[in-house]
Structure formats: C-alpha cells, structure tokens
Symmetry: C2
Subunit: 232 residues, 2 copies
Amino acid sequence: MAAAAPPPPPTAAPEPNMVPETSPIGHPVFSRIRLATPLDVPFIHKLIHQMAVFERLTHLFSATESNLSSSLFTSPPFKSFTVFLLEVSRSPFPATLPSPDFTPLLKTHNLDLPIEDPESHNFTPDTLNDVAVAGFVLFFPNYSSFLAKPGFYIEDIFVREPYRRKGFGSMLLTAVAKQAVKMGYGRVEWVVLDWNANAIKFYEQMGAQILQEWRVCRLTGDALQAFDNVNI
Amino acid sequence: MAAAAPPPPPTAAPEPNMVPETSPIGHPVFSRIRLATPLDVPFIHKLIHQMAVFERLTHLFSATESNLSSSLFTSPPFKSFTVFLLEVSRSPFPATLPSPDFTPLLKTHNLDLPIEDPESHNFTPDTLNDVAVAGFVLFFPNYSSFLAKPGFYIEDIFVREPYRRKGFGSMLLTAVAKQAVKMGYGRVEWVVLDWNANAIKFYEQMGAQILQEWRVCRLTGDALQAFDNVNI
C-alpha cells in the first residue's frame, strides 16, 4: 500500500558530517540510505507488516519472506522493483566508495533528545556498528506516454515509530526524486489517503500536486482470477 | 494518462472464427491483439496523441516518435513497459503459431453495420491485408508489498473513435487481465476520472473496485528538477 504518515519536511538540516561526534549540544545521529539486498528481506518483511498495522490493513497483508525474496531483486536496481533502506546509528557510517548503481547517501542529525528504540534488536543488520533499520521506500519505474518517458512510482514509504517527525520520510522521498532526476525521468508519483491531511500538506510542501479527479481502479482476488476462463 | 472512454462490456460475443465470412447477416469484422514492436511506434505515437485530444490534455503531450522508440521496447515483453496493439480487418488474420512471449488473441465480430474509418490510411501496417490499428493498451509491472507479488498497471487503454462501443476496450482490458493471471500476478490497476460515470460503470462490471479514498500525488517538471540541487 501507499505512503504512510511521513514526518514534516526538514528544516535547515545540517550538511552530512558537519556535526562532530563530540558536539557539546544535542544528540548526534547518523543516517544512511542504501540499496537493500536479499539479505535485508527479514527487515523489509517486518517493515511492511508494521506498515499494514499502522494503516489498519493487516487483513490485506499476506507477504512472506519467501515471497519477497522471489519477487524483489529480480532485476538490476531501478530497472524494476527497488528498495532503499534507511539505517540509523549513533556512530558515523564508514565512508563508501562511489558505486555505479547507487552511492549510499549519508546525513548527520543533531537531535534534542536521544532516540529510544525498544525494537532495535529486531532491526539490526550489524550489531557491531550499532545500526538499526529505521525505514524504507519501495519504488519501481512507471511510464508517462504523454512525456514518452519513464518515471518512478513509490509503492511504500515508511519510517518506524521512534524515528518519525525527524525528517527521515523527507530523506527517503528526496532520495527517490534525486534518482529520478539523475536518470532523466519525468515524474515521481504515489498515492495518499484523502483524509491524511498531514501527509497531503507535507507532500505539497515537497512540491507535489495532488490530483483530485483521478480514482484508482483495482482488479484483484477472485475477480481477477475469473479472467482465466474468459475469452477476449 | 489513463483509461479513456471504454466501450460497454461485450455481450455474448461469438467465439473466434465462429462467424463464417459468408454469413448472410451482418458484417463480419476480424480483430487481433498482438504485442507491439518498434515498427509500430508511428501508430503508437498517433494513438497517444488522439488520446490527448480526447482527454483535452494536449498541453501535457510532448511525446515524439523518437522518445517513444528509445523508452519503449527496452526490456522483454511484460518485464517493463509493454504495448498490446488492437488490429481490425475485414479479412481473417492468418493463423499464428504459439509464441513463448505472447500468442496473438483473435476474435471475430458480426456487426450490424460496417465500420467506416476515414483515417484508416494513417493506421494501416499492412495494406495488402486491409488491416487498421484500432487501439492499444500500454501497461507495465507494479508491485504490491502486502501481497509480495507483482501486478500490472495499465497506463493507457484507448480505442479509436470508429471502433468504440463494440467491445474492443473490454478485449484490451481482458487481454491484460488474462496475462496477469497467467503470470501469477496479484492485481491489475489503473486510474479513471471521477466524473467519467460510464467508464466507472464499465470497470465495475468487469469486476474492478474503485478505491474512493486514495489520491494520486505527482512530482514533475520544475518541482522535480529542483531535487537535483537538494541535499537529503
């Protein structure tokens, strides 16, 4: 399902690595956006389930780690279904060499209060480095025939509860938008619930238009399966 | 842009090739749905332009044949952007061998009146066979993380004016739905304008749900380009 409860847009966030670890004020937090790999499927599965709980749509949730493994990562990054993971740590991430696919994006935050994450043990890919997976964005190419150009469609953007309202949702959306520009794509699109006024305001501040006249049509379940026996 | 003015659903249409050419009643018309190829780009370009005119959205239309050629047909069929063409003829289409990609779908119609198509010269891929391109559907994979399965998103479904209200729109939608079932996909989705009551009724009759609460968000043009200079 679609974008859930993004935090407000960032306000004059510091540049990456501009806040030294020894800053006398606040609590420095280091974040990284990187491409997910098949090893991240357990985290992706838990994140999608938390999103379903948040959206009160667990009755629609039937993803398994096995199904995610076999359906994601079937193409090179950005050519089909692609996941960016957001990781957060109290220690700086190691410097990364530029990659032909995607060079991880780093940012340092200086928070007033430390982040308490009681679930961090379920979201730690690397215990040595005190890293927790805090969110993700799942997106894939779409197409505008009027522009005759691809774009990106964002299926999910989600930040775990302890990490909300700190600019991380904006980071994830920005990462996708920057990648779209880099690839010469024409649009980034997603959907939002019409009653989610906070999210709509946030998206408009990010520069998005909300298309009021269009409705999503969905053929699924038995109604879709029935076409197996239908002649054209 | 999205689905335009589909015809009503088919009513007890005859099976393919069940109406002999010499039928004393009506006007037999033969139709075929096949995968488009790069050679079809001139037709696809004209169809998309007609769709923009129909939707009164020509101010958003900037596709060129060159852009279509370079952005479509970059992946095997169904893996990314895919176009089915609808062709119509007064003569039967030749039998086609099954294909690993997509075996063309054939249907014979018996119409009360012959179809007058004053523009057929602009839409004829093969003059010898009296064939006219009558419509198209452009679609590509999307992803449901709740199902952990791909689906198809239909970006465009369009039938040229002389061929409307004869079941051809239903044929194109059915062809995509059948392909989704064949591939084990979980959903087919598209969008419709909320004031297009005829289209909504048609889609509901085809088994689709209209999701009333979701709104499409779009980041495009200068608002998207601005992200080139934004830090995460």
